[in-house]
């Protein structure tokens, strides 16, 4: 049986594993495999390939392992794509958002299994167990959604639903009760209200997109005196010799950016020139740029050479290195500690890690300390926020489109019944977040706001 549409869902629990599996099932699986992994012709079936997933906007989103299955030789019996990406919620969400842009829709609990079943892929003796599984999944999804809707996002969505309901009630009142006891129709009012709603949905969407942690990763600037070991740190975290390392202080001149993944987080790691008073114009310029980078950072890793005296850092920079945003690396623990290595009092209480980037002593914990510092100090994330985001984001974007349709173009007012048709789709889209909004709710609003009836 063909269902016509293509569904998509995360198959692994969010945030619990290093690798995440996203499954896509339906007719779009093949074209998406082609565009995302830049393939010519039909994708090779039933084999694991490695490649960069390219989003519809042309940016590479993640380095993935993927497999394509042609119909009917797949789990669901439809064409399927399985993408193994990094188990980072940010990346997962971006990939899923991209799949939605390409025409997929988020699967309902149990939908993959149901398709598999419909296509005779699952034995009927398994039906009972499968039904239990679907039930459990759906209960969990409902619970998560409810928790989510108690938060700030929920409040915003409920406000939106409320505004759209009012608009719809107003529009419908004049359609269904043209000759009853209504005040004269005000055509401008609803249009203005509609513009307001559109503006607030836009803001909601922009917030979601602009949240740097969601989109570009956490901008992390490595800062310190020359020769402290900053470039060495970048190389270790990147896993390859990205930056030049030498015993010569002032080796790094311009800043270097490298994107890395630590645990669930995507970091945009920036190695900078060591900071000191310099007469060399080129080096001075590099230091200037290092400070600029520091100004726009979400997070700092300060690298200090304990075999040297504590460096002199500008006060403006020290002020930025607050305890929530900073991790201190006390490097070169293989060497003896310099008598004048006295940690600046402003940084004394910050999280620190003592290690040697040269011998590797203490670096086993490096990644986990960075992760926990980010987690506990920087973002206090709620995993559920991220989990629900894709579905919510898709629903809100859909609502946004329909609201814009309702408004019409070029300031020309649409016939009200068409406007109502768009508003209804907008309400349905929001209902994907809040739970289905029944027609009865529109009528309740209508009869609450207007004295209808002879």
């Amino acid at each position: 049986m063909s269902w016509g549409d293509t569904i998509m869902a995360l198959a692994t629990p969010m945030g619990e594993s290093a690798i995440a599996l996203i499954r896509v099932s339906g007719p779009l699986a093949a074209p998406i495999t082609q565009t995302a992994f830049k393939l010519e012709g039909t994708p090779p079936a039933r084999s694991v390939k490695i490649g960069y997933y390219q989003g519809v906007e042309g940016h590479p989103l993640d380095h993935c392992a993927y497999s394509y299955f042609e119909a009917p030789r797949s789990y669901t019996g439809e064409a399927m794509l399985e993408i193994n990406c990094h188990g980072n919620p940010l990346i997962i969400n971006r990939l899923m958002a991209d799949l939605i842009k390409q025409g997929c829709r988020v699967a309902e609990p149990g939908e993959f299994t149901r398709r598999a079943f419909e296509n005779g892929k699952i034995d009927l003796t398994q039906a009972e167990a499968i039904a239990d599984l679907i039930r459990a999944k759906s209960d969990r999804a409902i619970l998560l959604a409810q928790r989510q809707l108690q938060g700030a996002l929920g409040e915003r969505v409920h406000e939106l639903v409320d505004q759209v309901l009012n608009l719809l009630a107003q529009t419908e009142a004049y359609i269904d009760f043209p000759e009853e006891d209504l005040p004269p129709e005000d055509k401008e009012g609803p249009l203005q209200d509609l513009s307001k709603v559109i503006a607030s949905v836009k803001k909601l969407l922009r917030n979601r997109q602009q949240a740097p942690l969601l989109c570009d990763g956490i901008k992390t600037v490595i800062i310190g005196a020359p020769n402290a070991g900053k470039s060495s740190l970048l190389n270790i975290l990147a896993g390859h010799e990205r930056a030049l390392v030498s015993a010569e202080p002032g080796t790094t001149r311009d800043y270097i950016v490298e994107r890395i993944i630590i645990g669930q987080y995507s970091l945009q790691l920036v190695d900078t020139a060591g900071i000191r008073e310099s007469d060399n114009p080129l080096e001075a310029q590099g230091i200037e740029r290092a400070i600029q980078q520091a100004e726009a950072a979400d997070f700092y890793i300060g690298v200090f050479d304990q075999s040297a005296p504590w460096p002199d850092l500008p006060q403006s920079l020290l002020d930025r290195l607050t305890s929530e945003r900073t991790l201190l690396i006390i490097n070169k623990c293989d060497l003896s500690c310099h008598p004048h290595f006295n940690i600046h009092p402003a940084l004394a209480a910050h999280t620190k890690i003592l290690l040697s980037l040269k011998t590797g002593q203490g670096i086993d914990d490096l990644a986990s300390v960075i992760q926990s510092t980010i987690e506990n100090q920087l973002i206090h994330p709620s995993e559920d926020d991220l989990l629900i985001n894709t579905r919510h984001g898709a629903a809100i974007s859909k609502a946004y489109e329909h609201l814009n349709d309702a408004k019409g173009q070029d300031g020309l007012q649409k016939p009200v019944e068409l406007m109502a048709s768009d508003l209804r789709l907008a309400i349905d889209a929001l209902g994907e977040i809040t739970g289905k909004i029944e027609n009865e709710q529109i009528l309740d609003r209508l009869f609450g706001n207007f004295c209808i009836g002879k």
Binding site: G110, F117, A127, A131, I175, L418, S421, I442, C451, K454
Partner: protein, 627 residues
């Protein structure tokens, strides 16, 4: 009368219809026109097809339904057209989807004509008798008892007794039994239903006072003359003489006027702040506000008490003065429905400009009545528990003449199909308002008297009044209630429409395709660039073609959505399915599904509280059972 009166178990009818209101008349006519042998029982021959509320037919969504009835072979449209005193196309300034015909009718003429049609109908016996009990045998309904002690037997029963079940009228403190002023109350029937296991609810509705036109000062009122060009309910472009309206075509009495002509005006006035004062002062005497009335009333038909209390800030409310007919001076005061005592009614009416000297000839009253909770019915309107027992009309918790007529038609047709063992007649939500009506009632039930609104139809844009014949052609063809000649005419019209829509989309001229030019200037009345042949089509056909072209984007969007849902519509759920045996379903869903017993997965998905995961689980089990 063209049928034979038969009593007793040895001479059963095919279908017995109890009640000759708007539902009962359509049920009996439809069944008889399908060739069944029908008995129509009414408690009072003089109130056949009575408009118990205001003397008007149609309006938003209702007008659409009457068009649909007309397309299928119902009687309401043509009956209203021939007895109307003025017509009005509602929402004329809005798009075609929400334009709807409405007519003020001559109340008595309306009844007389319909009574006469019934008298002339072949296979239909009419008889005056109050139904007191139903006769059941082995869990099936087999007949009715009447107060005369005469029993009638039928293979299927359609009960359309409106608001008459345990009906109680209130005028302030004064209470009297009866479903309508001057009429009786069916007191024993409720118990007969209950003993058969049918669950009843209680609703309330009300009517305003009627006054003498001679006591109205029209100079203080605003005139509503109605449209000069009438918009009829019936489709006359596809009717030949044999399908035409006048009863005199059958060689009987004359109407005396031509439909759409000899208009009579309605008038409007309004309440004043003094009206509200009087209401507030006497609120404690209102049956409604004292708590005497337990039934729920409709929100869209509020009493003047409700209006003044719930919308206190609004200091005037419109009042419509509607003439009840050509041969009477009785006027219906629409907007002043109340359960206040008679002296207060007088005081209230006299605060309204133009009605200072009003002479009330019938007081306003509120009426409470039992209704059958409609989720006990299948989409054919047959009860799930008792085979061959159908319910239709206001007894199912609806209000409105069109709502009643639509149900009557559906129950009548399905009663016949049932006894003939044929596939039931079920319209889907995207096909008609009638389909929406039935699906809402049997799937969701109702918490107040149910009235149709266009906003209840998610595919409203596809359900424009003008396309009723197009939309329902396959059903009209199947039911064959209208003449073969008319079916051919509808087929020709549908083909013309298809042809021209395609032609207009494909053919280009200097400004691109014709379709693009039309969409660019959607308000134009004439498109001179279209071939002369186009302008020779009937106006109704041209309108429909232009509608489909102008609104193409939106109509296509709806059609895509419908196509997506066909999967679910096509998956049938077995009768008496044991939902409790499916462990994966939530208890709430198991309960609801068991109560509603949906026919398809799509219907199941519309039950509130049944979620998509439940539907997935159900689909898997159905599949498992099929293997």
């Amino acid at each position: 009368m063209k049928g034979i009166l038969k009593t007793g178990a040895k001479a059963p009818y095919d279908v017995i219809v109890c009640g000759a209101g708007h539902a009962g008349c359509e049920a009996a006519l439809a069944a008889a026109r399908m060739g069944a042998d029908v008995l129509l029982l009414t408690g009072n021959l003089d109130t056949i097809a009575q408009m118990s509320c205001n003397p008007a037919v149609g309006g938003e969504a209702k007008g659409h339904m009457i068009r649909e009835l007309d397309a299928l072979g119902g009687e309401m449209g043509i009956n209203a057209d021939t007895t109307a005193i003025q017509f009005r196309l509602l929402n004329a300034s809005k798009g075609p989807a929400v334009q709807s015909p409405r007519a003020q009718c001559d109340k008595k003429a309306y009844q007389y004509r319909l009574k006469h049609i019934i008298e002339l109908q072949a296979n239909l016996s009419l008889f005056q008798g109050v139904t007191t009990d139903l006769i059941f045998e082995k869990g099936k309904a087999v007949g009715v008892k009447t107060h005369l002690g005469v029993d009638f037997y039928g293979r299927a029963l359609v009960v359309t007794t409106g608001t008459f079940l345990k009906a109680l009228m209130h005028v302030g403190d004064a209470k009297s039994e009866g479903g309508r002023m001057g009429d009786f109350s069916a007191k024993t029937l409720s118990d007969s239903f209950k003993s058969a296991g049918i669950e009843l609810g209680r609703f309330k509705t009300g009517t305003p006072p009627r006054i003498l036109g001679g006591s109205i000062d029209f100079s203080k009122c605003e005139e509503q003359p109605g449209d000069t060009k009438p918009t009829f309910f019936g489709f006359y472009d596809t009717r030949g003489d044999e399908d035409l309206f006048h009863v005199e075509h059958f060689g009987q009495s004359k109407l005396g006027w031509k439909p759409g002509e000899a208009r009579i005006s309605c008038w409007t006035t309004h309440t004043t702040p003094t009206t509200a004062e009087v209401v507030h002062k006497n609120l404690h005497r209102s049956a409604l506000y004292k708590g005497d009335i337990k039934g729920t009333g409709p929100r869209y038909c509020p009493s003047i008490e409700d209006k003044c209390v719930k919308f206190e800030k609004q200091d005037t409310h419109r009042v419509f003065l509607e003439p009840e007919g050509r041969n009477t001076d009785e006027w219906y005061i629409n907007g002043l429905s109340t359960s206040l005592p008679f002296d207060t009614q007088l005081e209230i009416i006299q605060t309204v400009p133009g009605l200072e000297k009003a002479h009330i000839i019938r007081p306003a009253y509120a009426v409470e009545y039992d209704f059958v909770i409609p989720t006990q019915l299948t989409p054919t309107l047959e009860t799930k528990n008792i085979e061959n027992l159908f319910f239709a009309g206001q007894i199912n918790g609806t209000t409105g003449y069109a709502e009643a007529a639509a149900q009557g038609f559906i129950a009548g047709v399905n009663a016949v199909l049932k006894i003939r063992n044929e596939t039931p007649f079920i319209m889907q939500r995207h096909e008609s308002y009638m389909g929406v009506l039935i699906d809402d009632l049997v799937t969701k039930g109702t918490t107040e008297p149910y009235r149709m609104f266009t906003s209840r139809a998610e595919y409203r844009l596809l359900l424009n009044a003008g396309s009723a014949e197009h939309r329902l052609l396959n059903h009209t063809q199947r039911l064959k209630i209208v003449s073969n000649k008319r079916i051919s005419a509808i087929e020709a019209k549908v083909n013309d429409t298809l042809h021209w829509v395609k032609f207009i989309e494909k053919t280009t001229h200097t400004g691109g395709t014709f379709a693009n030019s039309i969409r660019r200037d959607p308000l134009a009345i004439n498109y001179s660039f279209l071939p002369i042949k186009f302008n020779k089509l009937s106006e109704a056909t041209r309108d429909e073609i232009l509608y489909q072209v102008r609104y193409k984007g939106y109509l296509d969007r709806d059609l895509r959505q419908i196509a997506k849902n066909t999967n679910l519509e096509n998956i049938k759920l077995p009768k008496n399915f044991d939902y409790y045996a499916i462990r994966g379903l939530r208890i709430e869903s198991q309960e609801k599904l068991t109560a509603i017993q949906p026919l398809t997965l799509a219907q199941a998905s519309r039950i509130s509280g049944v979620n998509p995961a439940d539907i997935n689980v159900l689909a898997i089990f159905l599949r498992a059972q099929q293997k």
